[in-house]
Assembly symmetry: C2
């Protein structure tokens, strides 16, 4: 099976990334090209492991599109040391370098987030006008979803970085989510302009002057209630909030299990409501969104959750293709070049 | 009805505080003294409004224990301006001053959080060794609960303040929750000592040297999973996380309602699971805990949620009495005097 004849988007996939690699990655990626055969897929990683999995899932896959990388950066590795020194022949570094060398249009990985960020920033390089690249996360909300930037690409974000998050986030949400003129809120401890910490008070002024649809400060409660399409904050705050949010479902599941353990009647009650609960909670499932792009680098690099399912991987690949088709990098370059302040 | 004969704890209650004042406050407070007649209750606020409500709920209440305060600080008032200048005869200022003047052993309010904090800090004063008072919040967890300090008494908390939160929180959780040697975690973006922002990296060193049961960095997900009894963080982060957590239930309710609106069958499904859901989610209900004390001031001052129910108010009063009986202020004074570093 080769797609070269009608290919328009070449995507390098980190076959070794994630808790269930290579199985989930290869399964999800094959699903993606079944949905969209115009994608040309490259599996990057240990050839033998990839071949073994491919033989089970899609034996006809073009073997030329397996790019061998002898090393694997795991979740415990120090990103900077692994990327720069100890694991330069890893699937993450080799895959990122394919984007750098224009051999791929995008790279996707469910592996070590810090390593993907570091490799992408160092090897592909930052867009002019971007002080710090950012990763966002899509939170569920009453209005469909709220994108929060930054959720951990960096800590101690400066006011200027928060402004950049807002500009890049606005472009992403407009182009990919199809929301014309998306609203942007600044995460703070109160709605009034006087509320905030040193960083947000200064960021507020920059955001007010920027060419975005800024609605002022928003609070922690406003994310899920959908007050803004985009919420910007320091990466330390965003990361803690994201991990907290992810744990809500965990606690809920434990509470439900404890309740079910309380007797046969309880068990029956839980069984009866399971399907309904699943439908109600489906928006809380991170797999549906398919990873978050690292924005601010001169290439498409999408980072997925370590526990990504095949569905999550598939959605990451489809999103990468969409970002490529819609020329998101070019649009960010144009916009940040224009707004550059320093 | 007078309780003076066997009184051992005098509690001043802000009758005007909260979204449903004075009704919820008076109803909850009367419930508290029915449970524990040894409490001597003072209602602080506009006499006429208090009397009107008391006549409905408990006409025999001793009218001498109504302390008239002509003004009301509402949720929109600027705390500092209201407390210092424009509303010095408000229920909050008059109630706090009763503690300052040793006419009451504790003050409780479901009113403007900032105003209670400001009045308590300015008028009662800080405990020696406390740079910044703190308010904590009890989050649900798989192990029963996790206390997070600070959730908004201040922003840009310094490392030394975070250390103080840990010491005061440890005393509260030990004395009031009965947990011997409670564990303390520092909220950060990774477990490793190297992960964090400028503030947490410095706070980590102070916490390691302190006479508490410190377990190192914890992440956003570790709060609900109960990894530590106490989690300390900058007030900006804690406040955002608290408000985010409170909104989870709101979103869940909206999702359930939307599902029920999908047809008669869905409506029946939701009706059938309502009771079970309520039991599962009861730990997420802030009323159960009855407010959070402002710690670090030389008196007991407990702040409740604006939407506090009578149950919430009752629990705040019972908690205030417990704090008084267990001499929490004295214990904090002793401990922080000992550990004082600057």
């Amino acid at each position: 099976m080769t797609h070269k004849a009608y290919s328009n988007c070449r995507i390098a996939v980190d076959a070794m990334g994630g808790d269930y690699a290579p199985h989930n990655v290869i399964k999800g990626a094959i699903d993606a090209i079944k949905m969209d055969p115009s994608i040309e897929l490259y599996f990057v990683g240990q050839e033998e492991a990839i071949l073994k999995e491919l033989n089970k899932i899609e034996p006809q896959f073009n073997k030329e599109n397996i790019i061998h990388a002898s090393e694997v950066i795991d979740m415990c590795d120090n990103p900077t040391i692994a990327v720069r020194k100890t694991k330069t022949d890893s699937s993450i570094v080799v895959g990122v370098n394919m984007v750098r060398d224009k051999k791929a249009d995008a790279f996707i990985s469910a592996g070590n987030t810090g390593a993907v960020m570091t490799a992408s920033t160092l090897n592909i390089g930052r867009i002019k006008g971007v002080g710090r690249p950012t990763i966002g996360a899509q939170f569920p909300s009453t209005k469909g979803g709220c994108f929060v930037y930054d959720v951990g690409a960096s800590v101690d974000s400066k006011p200027q970085h928060i402004l950049e998050y807002a500009i890049m986030g606005s472009i992403f949400v407009k182009e990919i989510m199809g929301i014309e003129n998306p609203t942007v809120g600044l995460l703070s401890v109160g709605e009034e302009d006087s509320k905030g910490n040193d960083t947000t008070l200064k960021a507020l002024q920059l955001l007010k002057e920027a060419d975005i649809n800024f609605i002022g400060n928003v609070e922690g409660r406003d994310i899920l209630t959908g007050k803004a399409d985009i919420v910007v904050c320091d990466g330390f705050v965003g990361n803690i909030m994201l991990k907290f949010a992810e744990s809500v479902l965990t606690l809920l599941k434990i509470k439900i299990r404890d309740f079910a353990d309380g007797g046969l009647l309880n068990k029956i009650k839980v069984l009866l409501m399971k399907g309904t609960l699943k439908r109600i909670l489906k928006d809380f499932d991170s797999d549906a969104h398919g990873g978050v792009p690292l924005m601010g680098v001169k290439g498409i690099s999408i980072i997925g959750h370590g526990s990504s399912s095949p569905l999550g991987i598939r959605n990451m690949i489809l999103r990468a293709k969409e970002m490529h088709e819609k020329e998101l990098i070019k649009k960010i370059e144009e916009s940040l070049g224009k707004d550059e302040k320093k």
